[in-house]
Amino acid sequence: MKKILLLLLAFTTIVSAALRVETTYSTLGAITEEIGGDLVNVHVLGSSKYDPHFIVPKPSLLAKLRRADLLIMNGGGLELGWLPPLIRGANNANIQNGAKGFLDISHYIPMIDVPTSVSRGFGDVHAQGNPHYSTDPYMVPIIARAIMAKLLELDPDHEQRYHSNLEKFSYRWQKYLEKLDAKMKQCKDKKVVQYHELFNYFLKRYNYKSYGNIEPLPGIAPSSKHTIALINSIKKNKIKLILQDVYHEKRTAKFIASKTGAKVIVIPHDMGADGSKNLEEYYSNIAKKLCR
């Protein structure tokens, strides 16, 4: 009996020893799992089947955040529309902005497309630059390092293990990037249009050029005037690829395709959006669809 009790006690301490980590999106969650291993218990707040700008702040997420030791967010304004009321409502001192258990990854990222002037007259623009950096596989090691530093800060007893996890992961990722780069070298057609500027980091990494967006302004539904202008631009520049995300309506993209002969390809904006189960599969799927 005593033994069982002791065992139970040991078990509960092991269970509670794992850091409870909430990440806002799946890619961040997967990287956290790589670095934290079984020292962390990761849960993702925003399902990758939905628009990352508009995750529904369900009360069930409050229960998750209430017990979190660490909140890892994408930042750059991507969570502005849904995360603040959740942080406020979770009554958890650990994860308040500026607290030890709060990590904004965007602070470690060289942001692109930072607007020089911001007005809602230009649509719902990202005032701090394009926050969709996690589509670029080269950002993964930067994210991993930021996460490791934070885990070390919260759980210094396991320094060795976090370090070796990062080392192993970095090596694996280096090898993967070499393979991915080799594949991307073979792509010829580098002209695209996209729905929202979701893929700019990936496109820039591999020297693609984006000629425009289906949405006339960020966050604004397509208009016929803008669509016609885009069709003309596609014809003029001989663009053959329309990058569609998983969550927007697909009618406009299909219409543009039918008028121009360009092809609509659905690109995942986050791990799991296309059913991908791990990081490599996610980035390889982007490459596979884009490279032709």
């Binding site: 399902s47 089947k49 939905y50 628009d51 508009f54 529904v56 702040p57 369900k58 009360p59 069930s60 409050l62 229960a63 209430r66 017990r67 502005l80 529309g81 849904w82 995360l83 603040p84 009321p85 406020r88 409502g89 979770a90 009554n91 958890n92 001192a93 308040q96 902005n97 500026g98 607290a99 809602r120 649509g123 719902d124 966050g219 604004i220 539904a221 969550y247 927007h248 309506e249």
Partner: protein, 403 residues
């Protein structure tokens, strides 16, 4: 032979030319790189010189501020002068109805609201919203709230809207319908339960969301309470939510308020609310939200038992359009109705339908039709038809709304 020599000469010269071009290219490249190094050096210097931030600037600490404007155009089959006299038997007598919003046929500027939020320090954040009506300035809410208490506790103090029920703490512009549900309007008036006081909320450390809250308030609301010789209003509630699969979430709540009315006798109010939300896509959802409230009011001469409910269904079709229908009614009205003898005081109810159009997340046009069967005007039941087009604008740094 001659031809061959000429040809080889040509080739040689072109080879030579190529080599020369390469050399020039390389030179150019080197020059380019040199200028690049120079220019980056220069620009970094430039940055050093241009960072002349004002020595005492506090701009970074300015509160988030938003301006909310709400206005409408109304068409109604009752004259304005008649409408002002509308009564709801057993709840609101003639001349006592308060119409802060959408009162007039024709145009109404309902309010300009200035909402502010600021983090005070690592332990507090402050909120305030000021309502500016055409002839009146009102502090809607002004309170501080803790951010870093242990054990998932949170304290709020100041003037605030109570978290009683589902809709009470929400601001008018975030309601699914422009008009307040009948039962809220009759029990609390247009501001709902909004008072000076303190609030304590706690979230249980469970996988399921369970939140418990208590509030002590002054109880100035004369419709149900009103004895403010000291703080006389106490409120408690329990809210819980579960997800069924990825897309369906259920939120339920039980609320209780105990206060003292103008007769210095107890008023008890019980509330039950239930919200089901099925997410159909990123921009599409189906929401069914209902609330039932019962009030037991002891008075010197009588004991009132009154209750009512509303139930609304909202279909968010996409980013731009949403459709909704609401039914609300009084279900129990045991009170002194002698002033309404000869008037049918049963079946006080209302039907509302609406279409929202949001050209942009910050602006909303709403067209609604209301068939109101809850009013008595000039001693007679009068059914009212109303068509309204309202416009709501939220400009500036307006924080995301709660669930």
């Amino acid at each position: 032979m001659k031809k061959r020599i000429i040809l080889s000469l040509l080739i040689a010269s072109s080879l030579f030319a190529d080599a020369e071009i390469d050399a020039i290219k390389e030179q150019l490249q080197q020059q380019k790189e040199a200028t690049l190094v120079m220019s980056t050096k220069l620009s970094s210097l430039e940055q050093k010189n241009t960072n002349q931030s004002a020595s005492f600037s506090q701009n970074a600490y300015l509160p988030d501020m938003a301006l909310i404007l709400n206005m409408s155009a109304v068409s109604r089959d009752v004259e304005n002068s008649e409408y002002e006299k509308a009564a709801m038997p057993g709840f609101i007598d003639e001349g006592e109805m308060n119409f802060p919003f959408n009162k007039n046929r024709g145009f109404n500027l309902n309010y300009a609201e200035v909402a502010m939020h600021s983090v005070v320090d690592p332990y507090f954040e402050a909120f305030a919203n000021f309502h500016l009506h055409p002839n009146e300035f009102e502090i809607g809410e002004a309170y501080v709230q803790t951010t870093s208490l242990p054990y998932s506790l949170r304290v709020k103090a100041g003037k605030f809207k109570s978290s009683f029920g589902r809709i009470n703490k929400k601001h008018q512009h975030s309601w699914n319908f422009d008009s307040q549900p009948l039962i809220y309007k009759t029990l609390f008036g247009p501001d709902s339960i909004s008072d000076a006081g303190v609030q304590l909320q706690w979230i249980a450390p469970t996988d399921t969301y369970i939140m418990f809250g208590i509030e002590a308030m002054q109880g100035t609301n004369g419709r149900s309470f009103g004895d403010d010789s000291k703080n006389n209003l106490y409120i408690a509630y329990l809210k819980s939510s579960i997800d069924i699969g990825d897309d369906l979430s259920v939120l339920g709540g039980l609320s209780y308020a105990h206060g003292k009315n103008t007769d210095r006798k107890p008023t008890d109010i019980y509330g039950v609310d239930l919200t089901l939300r099925e997410q159909l896509g990123s921009y599409s959802s189906l929401i069914w939200q209902s609330e039932f409230l019962q009030r037991n009011k002891e008075l010197t001469s009588q004991r009132d038992r009154q209750a009512g409910l509303y139930s609304e269904l909202v279909y968010q079709y996409n980013n731009n359009y949403s459709f909704g229908a609401r039914y609300d009614c009084i279900t129990k009205n045991e009170t002194d109705l002698s002033a309404y003898s000869g008037v049918d005081t049963d079946n006080l109810e209302r039907y509302t339908a609406k279409i929202d159009y949001k050209p942009f997340p910050m602006s909303r046009l709403r067209l609604s039709y209301t068939y109101d069967r809850s009013k008595v005007i000039g001693g007679e039941r009068k059914d009212i038809n109303e068509v309204m087009l309202s416009l709501n604008i939220a400009a500036g740094a307006h924080g995301a709304h709660d669930y």
